[in-house]
């Protein structure tokens, strides 16, 4: 029933959902962010296994601006290209992968120079709203924002962790061309909560200690409910009191 209602709502709003493969990026002083691009699985796909393979990496900044485009080419599916994502001193966002279809998981790595951690991207979609729907959502969203609420068109749940030494922040990705107001609520009480306004194709790094104080000993588990007015997803960012973030993790 819910699925049917969603389909009807999408049709009324005229939403399109072009498929996209995306990965997060995050740069801090002393932290390198490097993409690893390959097309490994293509070698098992008859008719699709002959190179070269072209990759167009479109890098979006936190405010949704198109920050850079990177082009690379692999001669064979087993080749791997590393693309370093630059920003000023600090930045985050996501990249989308275009041109040849991706037949493999692509990785993003964060390194402090001594070690690195990696996670893979996701094959999903972005939502494209026509102008009239963007206008409607802008008006309704602004009104609800006065009440610290949003249109809960998409809801997901996530555990966060807050300890004396470490915590898991959330990198929220707005995978749409409308402003996405995402309300993050701690459960079960529903309070405290924050309302985050993310520009189209933008992102927000949510410091989870804004929502929960660390446990005196060990790590506190914080169940969260996230509501957004357009499609969004998140990556978990491992953070520490004594070092910069150096791990990212996808969540289904």
């Amino acid at each position: 029933m819910t699925r049917l209602l969603r389909r009807v709502a999408r049709a009324l709003l005229g939403v399109e959902r072009p498929p996209v493969y995306y990965l997060p990026w995050l740069v801090r002083p002393g932290i390198d962010c490097v993409l690893m691009l390959s097309n490994l699985e293509a070698r098992f796909r008859s008719g699709h296994n002959a190179g070269p393979f072209a990759f167009r990496v479109t890098q979006y900044a936190a405010d949704g601006r198109l920050l850079a485009e990177h082009h690379t080419r692999l001669e064979r599916g087993t080749d791997v290209a590393e693309v370093t994502l630059a920003a000023s001193d600090t930045g985050w966002g996501f990249v989308t992968i275009g041109d040849d279809p991706v037949q493999s998981d692509l990785y993003v790595t964060l390194s402090d120079g001594a070690a690195y951690a990696a996670t893979h991207g996701r094959q999903e979609f972005v939502e494209r709203y026509p102008a009239r729907s963007r206008a409607v959502l802008a008006v309704v969203g602004s009104l609800l924002a006065w009440l610290a609420r949003t249109v809960p068109a998409f809801v997901r749940y996530q555990y966060a962790y807050v300890g004396a030494e470490s915590r898991s922040d959330l990198l929220l990705l707005n995978l749409s061309n409308v402003t996405n107001r995402i309300r993050v609520v701690t459960l079960p009480a529903g309070s405290p909560s924050v309302l985050v306004r993310i520009p189209p194709m933008g992102s927000h790094l949510l410091d989870i200690s804004r929502l929960a104080q660390p446990a005196v000993q060990g790590t506190r588990v914080v169940p969260l409910r996230l509501e957004g007015n357009a499609w969004f997803n998140l990556y978990v960012v491992g953070a520490s009191e004594r070092s910069t973030p150096r791990s990212l993790m996808h969540v289904k």
């Binding site: 690195y116 809801v155 030494e165 470490s166 898991s168 491992g238 973030p245 993790m249």
Partner: protein
């Protein structure tokens, strides 16, 4: 609730000295908690000996695996941990997702968050458990880091031994090592960082059925886990 109950066997590895919190369910719905029907946790040492077996209250959302490991393992040891979950497929149409938070205590390293291997069960065509060949791969950055890489491999089988073929690829060469695992045995297979002067670029893992398998990176100076990830599975 439906009249049929589904099963999912998930697996991970655990060592003392870490905060290790395992999410037993991942989603909630508006009408209440989506919970498991039952969950049993079993721990095995490298030789397949059962170290502990516990029934977990399915109303629990997160299991403190680090605490459990601290009760049964000596420092420096490691356990294969199996999560035998029963669930209502109406509550989890795909399957319950288990994720975990992993942090080396007092290391100063940031925590890791990872997806627990689904090794058996769930929706058959979504988990590579029913095919004869199981094929996984992982890529490595080729510039040198002060980090050692290995595969953690465990057999969740009840009766049969399984051979795992681990092939490391370098720029122009490769090396292959075969590891035989008896039921509930596990091993850490070190991946040489260099071969014939070329850096490690990729590892392939082939086996006759799905293993518990993770690629791990350890900080060279301390042995702390700084990378803990599942491999990419072909032929799902």
């Amino acid at each position: 609730m439906s009249s049929s109950i589904s099963g999912l066997l998930s697996a991970t590895f655990a060592e003392p000295g870490y905060e290790h919190l395992v999410e037993l369910v991942h989603q909630r719905d508006a009408s209440g908690r989506r919970r498991l029907e039952a969950l049993a946790v079993e721990l095995y040492d490298a030789d397949g000996r059962e170290l502990a077996a516990r029934a977990v209250d399915p109303r629990d959302e997160v299991l403190d695996l680090g605490k459990l490991i601290g009760e049964v393992l000596q420092p420096g040891a490691r356990a294969l941990v199996l999560f035998d979950a029963r669930y209502d497929p109406d509550a989890f149409p795909y399957r319950p997702h288990h994720y975990a938070y992993l942090h080396r205590i007092t290391s100063g390293d940031p925590p890791l968050y990872y997806a627990v291997n689904a090794t058996l069960g769930g929706v058959p065509d979504r988990i590579g458990a029913e095919r004869l060949n199981n094929f996984e791969t992982y890529l490595f950055r080729t510039r040198p880091f002060a980090e050692r890489y290995s595969l953690l491999l465990g057999s969740v089988a009840r009766f049969a031994d399984v051979e795992a073929r681990v092939t490391c690829y370098y720029a122009s060469t490769s090396t292959t090592k075969t590891v035989t695992l008896a039921p509930k045995h596990h091993a850490e297979v070190v991946l040489p960082l260099e071969h014939a002067g070329e850096p490690l670029a990729r590892v392939d893992l082939k086996s006759m059925f799905r293993l518990a398998s993770y690629v791990v990176g350890r900080r060279a100076s301390t042995g702390s886990l700084v990378l803990f990830d599942h491999l990419f599975t072909y032929f799902k």
